[in-house]
């Protein structure tokens, strides 16, 4: 299995948050009953992207183990379906909850792996995990 570099993780994060934000904007347009929450989730995804990229760029150093912190990580395990699969509100909520769970797992795992190797960058992954868990809680409240 290929090694995963920090740069690849950051690109993956960027794509994940862009697609997640677009997904929630789609839900905002389709489901007025949850629009306020979905919009806030979209904004949250944009915040996470900004936070992680900024922290990476402000912390990265040639002395950190950027090439060797994510050995054997299976990125594919964290891929989610990010196009809306159903017009049914409850099914859309379930899809969103599944997305949040996977995203939180992704950030939790990369935070754990890089904890003592990537300094503050690992802390930003931990923050992202927390924000994704908050997202999940909000969606579960909507789902009742």
């Amino acid at each position: 299995m290929a090694n995963i570099t920090a740069s690849a993780i950051i690109s993956y994060t960027e794509e994940l948050e862009d697609k997640s934000a677009a997904f929630y904007r789609d839900l905002t347009a389709k489901f007025p009953q949850g629009a306020k929450t979905f919009l806030s989730l979209a904004e949250n995804c944009e915040k996470i992207k900004k936070l992680v990229i900024r922290t990476y760029r402000e912390t990265v150093s040639d002395a950190l183990e950027t090439g060797f912190s994510f050995d054997n990580l299976k990125l594919i395990a964290y891929d989610s379906e990010l196009t809306l699969e159903s017009d049914d509100y409850r099914e859309a909520l379930e899809q969103a909850i599944a997305l949040e769970k996977k995203a939180a797992d992704f950030y939790g795992e990369i935070a754990r792996r890089s904890r003592s190797l990537l300094a503050t960058i690992a802390m930003s992954f931990k923050d992202a995990e927390k924000r994704r868990k908050h997202n999940q809680n909000k969606l579960e409240l909507l789902a009742g």
Partner: protein, 502 residues
């Protein structure tokens, strides 16, 4: 995995910046080659003595006004430069990968380290303050003021084309001096781009000059009567010449950082997962082309029997080799890549000669970097894989000399005292790293080892911008170091005033 877009699309003719004017040189031009793709990405002039003299003259002319510019105004120029560097962060990083070969993570790391020096230098209104003591004798006061000296020459190496110029130039300029910077002619893009941004930030013509070139420019810098001091980073033989034949003869101030042969010491209680990850970065990062790279790995059996040391040694070596074998080699703009090429074919050939020498002198080659898998369809010319030697002894050439490539030597010591003796037998004194969970062992290394930069569970002991980049023995010539407060002292004269009023 995706390959990031290249910021240099067409070959660029690099120019000199003299007195705020970008000028083509009258000297010959040579090609700048992307070591990963083999493509020519630009041409750089080998400037003439006259061009260097023009740059120094323009610096001398700019100096009186620049030194009178209030420190807070100079700091604001540097704040603007810092913002411009941030705005161009990604482009600058990708340029480094294109001109040097390092991976994109390494380039971004270098960009950050460079910018941090600009950040520190923005603190000049505080950093440059002097001292004052009332009543050194009754009714008499004494104070110290720091004043700039004039023009400084900065000569930078190929291995960190962005960062090393910024170890010096921001501090020189912040303290009111002017600079003439000569980047490595092998990868001059970044320093050229930084100078463009410095100009955009409002640093006046003549304060920040760039003259590209080779030995002629360096010799003229060393001999020039109007250059007050030299900052040099490169190999030890040249650093010694810069000090002895150059600055010594002309009475210049000097910071001359030379080569290195760094040791990593692995104690029996080291966290091996993290130690191996740190070693991969330390031994093979930047393809081994850095003065803080570790090259000799000493596995220590403190508190272990001979048999236990043998077992521990085998375990560490096996883990090290397994990790080294998995390193992905290719073009640094490919995000899956962990190690790029050497800067050029000649440098690779030099490393290969060391590998051959190691075999000839009896070291056991257990991972041969001459055989490697390359990710992507690139010419193999400048690439080399990770190499590991076992049974290396201190008398071997590969254990003594700076290889500046991805070669690791496995050694063992029965106890920490023996490991420290091994470090001390080497003439260099740049860096040592110890991997351990034991505070006493770590302290013994920190306290006893004669090296300028000590890493404790840190593979690359690179000082941050607010600390000096240290070095001892044959790794450093001079008194004050680059970066932080020492750089402020280097670039200023301490004037003492004793004052009495009748």
């Amino acid at each position: 995995m995706r390959i990031l877009e290249e910021p240099i699309r067409e070959p660029v003719e690099i120019k000199n910046l003299i007195d705020g004017d970008w000028k083509a040189s009258k000297g010959e031009y040579k090609d700048i080659v992307n070591p990963a793709t083999g493509k020519v990405i630009g041409t750089v002039p080998i400037s003439t003595k006259e061009e260097l003299n023009q740059a120094v003259e323009s610096a001398q002319e700019a100096f009186p006004l620049w030194r009178r510019t209030p420190p807070v105004a100079r700091a604001r120029c540097l704040f603007r430069l810092k913002n411009l560097l941030e705005e161009n962060f990604e482009e600058l990083s990708r340029i480094q990968t294109m001109e040097h070969g390092k991976t994109i993570d390494e380039s971004r790391g270098e960009t950050r380290r460079g910018i941090e020096n600009v950040e520190v230098a923005t603190g000049i209104p505080t950093l440059m303050q002097g001292d004052f003591l009332e009543d050194i004798a009754s009714g008499i006061d004494e104070y110290l003021i720091r004043q700039p000296l004039g023009t400084f020459g900065i000569i930078t190496p190929f291995n960190f084309p962005f960062m090393i110029g910024l170890w010096f130039a921001p501090y020189a300029v912040a303290t009111g001096n002017c600079v003439v910077l000569k980047p490595s002619s092998e990868d001059p893009f970044c320093q050229t781009k930084i100078a463009e941004l410095a100009e955009e930030a409002g640093i006046p013509p003549g304060v920040w000059n760039v003259v590209h070139g080779g030995r002629t420019v360096v010799k003229e810098m060393l001999d020039h009567k109007d250059i007050q001091g030299i900052c040099f980073v490169g190999s030890t033989p040249v650093a010694r010449d810069v000090v002895v034949k150059g600055c010594g003869a002309t009475g210049k101030r000097v910071i001359a950082q030379g080569g290195a042969k760094n040791f990593a010491i692995v104690m029996p209680d080291a966290d091996l997962d993290r130690t191996i990850a740190a070693c991969m970065t330390s031994f093979y990062g930047n393809a081994g082309q850095r003065c803080l790279a570790n090259t000799n790995l000493v596995i220590v059996g403190e508190g272990l029997s001979k048999k236990e040391l043998e077992d521990f040694y085998k375990k560490v070596v096996e883990r090290f080799v397994t990790a080294a074998k998995r390193i992905q080699i290719g073009y640094g703009l490919d995000e899956s890549i962990q190690m790029g090429p050497l800067r050029d074919v000649g440098k690779k050939e030099n490393v290969v000669r060391y590998i051959e020498k190691g075999i000839e002198e009896g070291a056991k080659l257990i991972l041969d970097g001459r055989q490697f898998d390359l990710v992507g369809d690139w010419p193999r010319d400048a690439f080399l894989g990770p190499t590991v030697f076992e049974d290396v002894t201190l008398d071997m050439t590969i254990a003594q000399e700076e290889i500046f490539g991805p070669v690791a030597n496995m050694m063992k010591a029965q106890n920490l005292a023996e490991a420290i003796d091994m470090v001390h037998e080497n003439p260099f004194g740049n860096a040592v790293t110890v991997f351990t969970g034991n505070g006493d062992w770590a302290r013994r290394v920190r306290y006893q080892v004669e090296c300028g930069n000590i890493g404790i569970n840190v593979g690359i002991a690179a000082p941050m911008a607010f600390f000096p980049f240290s070095g001892m023995k044959d790794s450093f010539y001079g008194t004050l170091h680059g970066q932080g407060k020492e750089a402020i002292r280097f670039f200023t004269e301490s004037k003492v005033v004793i004052e009495r009023w009748f």
